[in-house]
């Protein structure tokens, strides 16, 4: 009975509000003052009833009693209702974004065990500790200046209540066009950026940056000096990642290609195939190239040897953890679940799931047909490749496109591993350059091909009204914007990473000594074995084939 009365009362109040706002618009300003319009006739449960009987049916909690009143003596007003509705929207979006951020943070665990599992037992502590410390090093660098550079001029972000304190972008005018280069608010999260909305944005963006830094540790594992890794990670988190993040997500020049040059909706990267994965993959390539291959990876004739990891169960479990975390990565990038088309999170989650599935399936089939066995580690890499590729287009494509994008990614990752292993001869113990680099770029490109023009995030994207639409749905300009993004990634970001790590090599030295590498990095670099009770082989570089040339390589290093 009480419930019916409450519902009726609220219904009358709502109808009255609609009537006043909708049909009496001309007199609204004159006669309706929301702050003075007190709502009466709302029946609510009494506290003593709840105290006596409890509320097992969840009928008594969540009523007009729970709406915060500005003035309790005056009673519940229309203004109170409107303010509560606004607060609820922002609260829903804060909670959604934070939980999504927590999921992405947990991806660090997935990366840690995937990479450690794909390395040899003698380097397990070193690999695990690189993955562990990217969290601390990256967070510190991002708090000091990375966040400000990336998001310091990104306001307003409506879903998070505006985040108005981050409202300053450094812009230069060149050839008659404005080029927004980096943000200038939010260093140390101090001053006006001590703001609840900014904090939510910081947490979410920080865990994305951390994902980028952890990609590099995989490609450079088993021979990277820990001190060099630490310095390199700080540069990546403080400068390189934030710059591209600003250009794509912080109202920077790439995102404004639509406004300034009429190229679709400017560079579009929904959750970071380019910003996160391609930046990580290309940086990994720049460092791995300078480090050189592990001793024993190549024979004297240049033919490669496989160096198997020590724990396949780690690898597969890590892939599952990463796939789970990706549900924070992509759907969380709406930065909310309420308002501005954020209800599309359901579609984004399904796209994410589908692309991972088809990527894994395609990679498994490729390996089975080509090599006669369904390779487990490549099936895992196929899953990750599909997830990486769908990250940029997840918010703009339908499920069929998502499945195709994932399928192509699964093939690409296999071809990529073969290319880097045999043609480019850049040693990548975990396949990160193929998973994140190649498929990050493929994800960026696929937005320009498959975006179906059906998404609607508040009526516009990157300042251009309408929906993001790719070549196959009629907008070739969007594809050009994506190509400019890819050119920037392979041209500018790779160069920055290369130069920074060249400098690190000159000052710190990137690679460990040959003796350290042969005996394993755990004791010399970290001071402790990961598996002290296990019998480890001191120089377990692989296979009989080419053994002599491997020994020659080792001897050359020792010399």
């Amino acid at each position: 009975m009480t419930g019916h009365m409450r519902t009726t009362g609220l219904l009358i109040a709502a109808l009255g509000l609609i009537g006043v706002l909708g049909f009496a618009a001309p007199i609204r300003a004159a006669e309706l003052n929301a702050a003075d319009t007190v709502l009466t006739g709302i029946s609510t449960p009494k506290a003593e009833d709840i105290a006596a009987k409890g509320d097992p049916g969840a009928e008594l909690y969540g009523t007009a009693n729970d709406v915060t009143m500005a003035d309790a003596k005056k009673g519940l007003t229309l203004a109170d209702l409107a303010n509560q509705a606004g607060q609820n929207k922002v609260a829903i979006n804060f909670v959604w974004t934070l939980i999504a951020g927590f999921l992405v943070m947990f991806m660090q665990a997935g990366f840690a065990i995937v990479e450690t599992g794909l390395c040899r037992a003698k380097n397990a502590n070193h690999t695990m500790m690189m993955n562990f410390m990217v969290y601390g090093l990256g967070l510190f660098a991002y708090w000091v200046c990375g966040f400000a550079i990336q998001m310091g001029g990104s306001a307003p972000i409506a879903n998070l209540g505006g985040v108005y304190p981050v409202n300053s972008e450094y812009v230069v005018n060149f050839l008659g066009k404005p080029w927004a280069l980096f943000g200038t608010k939010g260093f140390f999260l101090s001053g006006a950026t001590y703001d609840v909305g900014v904090m939510v944005l910081f947490l979410f963006q920080m865990v994305f940056m951390d994902t980028t830094t952890t990609i590099v540790t995989g490609s450079c594992a088993e021979r990277w000096k820990y001190s060099a890794f630490a310095v390199s990670t700080i540069f990546l988190g403080a400068l390189i990642y934030p710059l591209f993040g600003n250009w794509a997500w912080g109202c920077g020049w790439l995102s404004q290609l639509g406004v300034n040059f009429g190229l679709g909706h400017g560079y579009c990267d929904f959750a970071g195939s380019g910003v996160v994965h391609a930046v990580g993959g290309l940086t990994a390539m720049a460092v791995a190239m300078q480090l050189g291959p592990r001793i024993g990876k190549y024979n004297r004739d240049g033919s490669p040897n496989a160096i198997p990891g020590h724990d396949l169960s780690y690898v597969m479990l890590g892939c599952f953890i990463l796939a789970f975390g990706w549900f924070g990565f992509n759907p969380g990038s709406t930065l909310g679940a309420s308002g501005n088309g954020a209800l599309r999170i359901g579609s984004i989650a399904v796209n994410t799931m589908l692309a991972g599935c088809t990527g894994s399936f395609a990679a498994l089939l490729y390996m089975w047909i080509r090599y006669g066995k369904p390779d487990a580690s490549m099936a895992g890499n196929g899953l990750l490749a599909g997830l990486v590729a769908i990250t940029a287009p997840s918010g703009f494509v339908n499920t069929l496109s998502a499945a195709i994008i994932g399928w192509v990614a699964g093939i690409l990752v296999c071809l990529g591993v073969e290319f880097f292993d045999r043609a480019a001869k850049i040693d990548d113990p975990v396949g990160a350059m193929s998973v994140h680099g190649i498929n990050g770029l493929w994800g960026v490109l696929s937005v320009g091909l498959f975006a179906d023009g059906r998404s609607n995030y508040g009526g516009s994207w990157n300042g251009v009204s309408g929906s993001v639409t790719g070549l196959f749905y009629g907008d070739a300009g969007q594809l050009v914007a994506q190509l400019i993004g890819i050119a920037t990634l392979v041209g500018v970001i790779f160069t920055m990473s290369y130069l920074v790590n060249w400098l690190v090599d000159l000052v710190v030295g990137q690679r460990v000594a040959a003796k350290v590498e042969l005996n394993g990095l755990d004791i010399p670099e970290m001071g402790a074995l990961c598996y002290p009770d296990f019998q480890l082989k001191a120089s377990d570089y692989p296979v009989a084939a080419g053994g002599s040339s491997v020994a020659s390589s080792a001897a050359a290093y020792k010399g």
């Binding site: 004297r300 392979v490 290093y557």
Partner: protein, 60 residues
């Protein structure tokens, strides 16, 4: 050699962006952007990586 590689990689990006000013045709911009990406990839995988491959440890 490494400096030439770096300049080549950067030059590819500059070419892609210059395409935005060289022509207003979408097809033309697309073509120039692809050309720029190709130049950058040649610079990184061809020139720069070639430098390291010449000095590869397995050749010593």
């Amino acid at each position: 050699m490494r400096l030439i590689g770096v300049l080549c990689v950067l030059g590819g990006w500059a070419l892609a962006v210059a395409g935005l000013f060289i022509t207003s045709s979408t097809g033309g911009r697309m073509l120039i952007a692809c050309l720029g990406i190709g130049v950058s990839l040649y610079g990184s995988l061809g020139v720069l990586n070639g430098y390291y491959l010449e000095r590869a440890i397995w050749k010593k």
